[in-house]
Symmetry: C3
Subunit: 292 residues, 3 copies
């Protein structure tokens, strides 16, 4: 069963194809890159960094490069971003990437994160987040950069809890969130560090669908087929038309936004506060949606 009506890949020059094939078979320590079992032109990007898929330089690099290569290859139409770690989609940035590093390394880290986020947000591929565990802080941000979000039912959560662990949400992440749930909900949830159960996340529009865990990939594939019913040219032009102003704005602000995060990271009390705060939501129980 083919996801696109004709398998574009067959028409690629051999050397290019080989290169993709090699890439696809390359299993990184942090991210596995595999063709989907059902659709030839869908690639499953699975974060497999135990214990919590915290996002470090290496994970960002492999994610960013993979996105670039898949786009360049023209062999694939869609990616599914998901997790191979039980119960966790991603717990956010690996804070140890920022601990006791020289300022130029910290600047480089934030740049890489900003660029990867914008690349994912503006990707010409169909991008679906298959959220099979808690997606907190930058784990949530990766999901909001995708075209759509399907989340598994369960005791896991999604949201920006940065402030609860003493961290500032990067400005670029705000834009994706405001586009999804509006300004007021974004401001409130960032200030409170609110994390949402799958059901509450769907209520405010942060995720598009919530499905039983065992139906996750089936639902993702239904959504993929829906998106893929459009010609690629048209789908890409429409996505670009919708996201252009946000992307332009983020590119324009990049240096300022990255500098702000670097300065914040270097504050003494922020440096001191950096501990391994990940994996805290294992076993989290949903709380009712706050009334106020």
């Amino acid at each position: 069963m083919a996801f696109c009506r004709q398998t574009v890949r067959l028409f690629l020059p051999g050397n290019r194809y080989t290169c993709i094939k090699r890439y696809i078979s390359n299993q990184s320590k942090y991210l596995t890159v595999k063709k989907d079992e059902e659709f030839d032109d869908v690639v499953i990007l699975k974060m497999v960094k135990e214990p919590d898929n915290s996002i470090c330089t290496n994970l960002l690099e492999v994610l960013s490069e993979t996105l670039q290569q898949l786009e360049d290859s023209k062999s694939y139409r869609a990616i599914v971003l998901t997790s191979g770690v039980t119960g966790i989609f991603s717990s956010g940035l690996d804070m140890l990437s920022l601990r006791q590093k020289p300022s130029n390394e910290i600047y480089k880290f934030w740049s890489l994160y900003q660029e990867t986020w914008v690349r994912l947000y503006a990707s010409s591929l169909i991008t679906v987040a298959a959220i099979n565990g808690s997606a907190t802080a930058s784990g949530c941000a990766l999901a909001t950069a995708c075209d759509s979000r399907v989340m598994a039912e369960g005791d896991h959560v999604i949201g920006h809890d940065e402030t609860r662990t003493g961290w500032l949400v990067p400005n670029w992440v705000k834009f994706g969130m405001v586009n999804l749930i509006g300004f007021k909900e974004t401001e409130r949830s960032f200030q409170k560090g609110t994390i949402f159960s799958p059901e509450d996340a769907q209520k405010i529009g942060l995720v598009d669908m919530v499905v039983p865990k065992d139906d996750l990939m089936t639902s993702v594939r239904i959504r993929l087929k829906e998106s893929a019913s459009l010609e690629d040219d048209l789908r890409i032009s429409t996505k670009n038309m919708m996201r252009r102003e946000t992307t332009e704005n983020l590119n324009h602000r990049q240096q300022e936004d990255v500098t702000n995060m670097t300065i914040y990271s270097l504050l003494e009390h922020v440096q001191e506060s950096i501990v391994d705060t990940n994996a805290q939501y294992l076993g989290w129980k949903p709380v009712p949606w706050p009334s106020g």
Copy 2:
């Protein structure tokens, strides 16, 4: 019964009035321009281009000029945009305007459309869309440019289905839609080419009221009276204050946006795809609002 408390028209210099009068009596092949039966200072613009009010250069020209003249005349306070074609408000652009034309003509067409849309959006007149049939693609865009939208109950639909027929939604149209239904709903509906039943359109805020077909003009007049209870100076200043940034932004982007549409139109496969796809929603049955 007079719509405004004093009939401004009486104080106009004779020659100006004559000119308007001549204009008002001028029945174009595509757009009839008539005073409302009840209110002296309301003009009914009725699209009468069989079979589906597809929007061609001529229709855009007469609409744009009429808007300009009505604004300049100061004799009229409001327009109602509606259709004289049964079951169809407007099916969108007349694609044949773009078929096998030289690039400068295509550029001119998109410019004219962009200018007409912005003129309607920023009009100093009270503008109400009386949607008495399906309003799809640019037919929907004309409605969203108005101050408010009253839609008749029935089997017709409203929405941007451009992608279903292989077309790209112009960037300027996006702004009107985002202001009405927000970014996420706009992105999703543009990607899917979603068309809405009147009831679903009201649910997401795309139309303001849904009324039985026979009550359409009565409801429109109630809305007109409401809007007209404000002094014109104040109403115009308030409208201008609300829409200023969008209008400025669209004027600023005009060349880029028109160029993008021209380039898209000239793509070989796009040219080949141009067929008369209009009038496809006659007899359309409403489907339930998608849950995901």
Copy 3:
């Protein structure tokens, strides 16, 4: 019981502290500035200008200066903006400030209002509006500039009714409103001059909580504790990150926006229309939320 975990004030140099103390004890004719009974680092700003807290130059000056001094002092973390006048939070601008004044004074008045509004919107303090009476026109605008809004149940209202009294809503006020309730609701409510009952205001997101009158300050304090659970640095950075673009945009547009309001104020018929229209909502009865 202390609102912050350590009393920052104790570590301030003596002379600075003295200065604040003097300031705090200074009771203006229009605005009383007092420490909260429960929390040492919360200041209650109570508008006490009988009969309706209409906003004049003096009230704006004392509010703006107080905000600046409280921010500079670093002794206080939060302000609560409320009213000492029964049944009225604030009825909006004191129109007599604009009656028969030279244009430079009118320009100065709008500048002062714009600057005060932006200062409140961008304040590094936690800002809560405790709305214990009707908050109309610029009275509503002061509330929307705060971080959150708690409103007392009762027969009072909130909203922008400027157009009902022949006035234009200033452009800067729009941004706060759009961020809270979205573009379409803002446009519609400004055009109609809609005022909302507390319950309806909560429904559209204009206020965050509605509570029995006697519980108002208790609820405000719960909200304050919630906000204050974040470190100040982090809370301020997050607020700044969220509100930066709006503030930048307003600073950029300041001259244009203030000039527009000045020109409008000087129109002959606007000058003639200025009467003391305040206090009109005492005894107002809530009306059902319009369906259309």
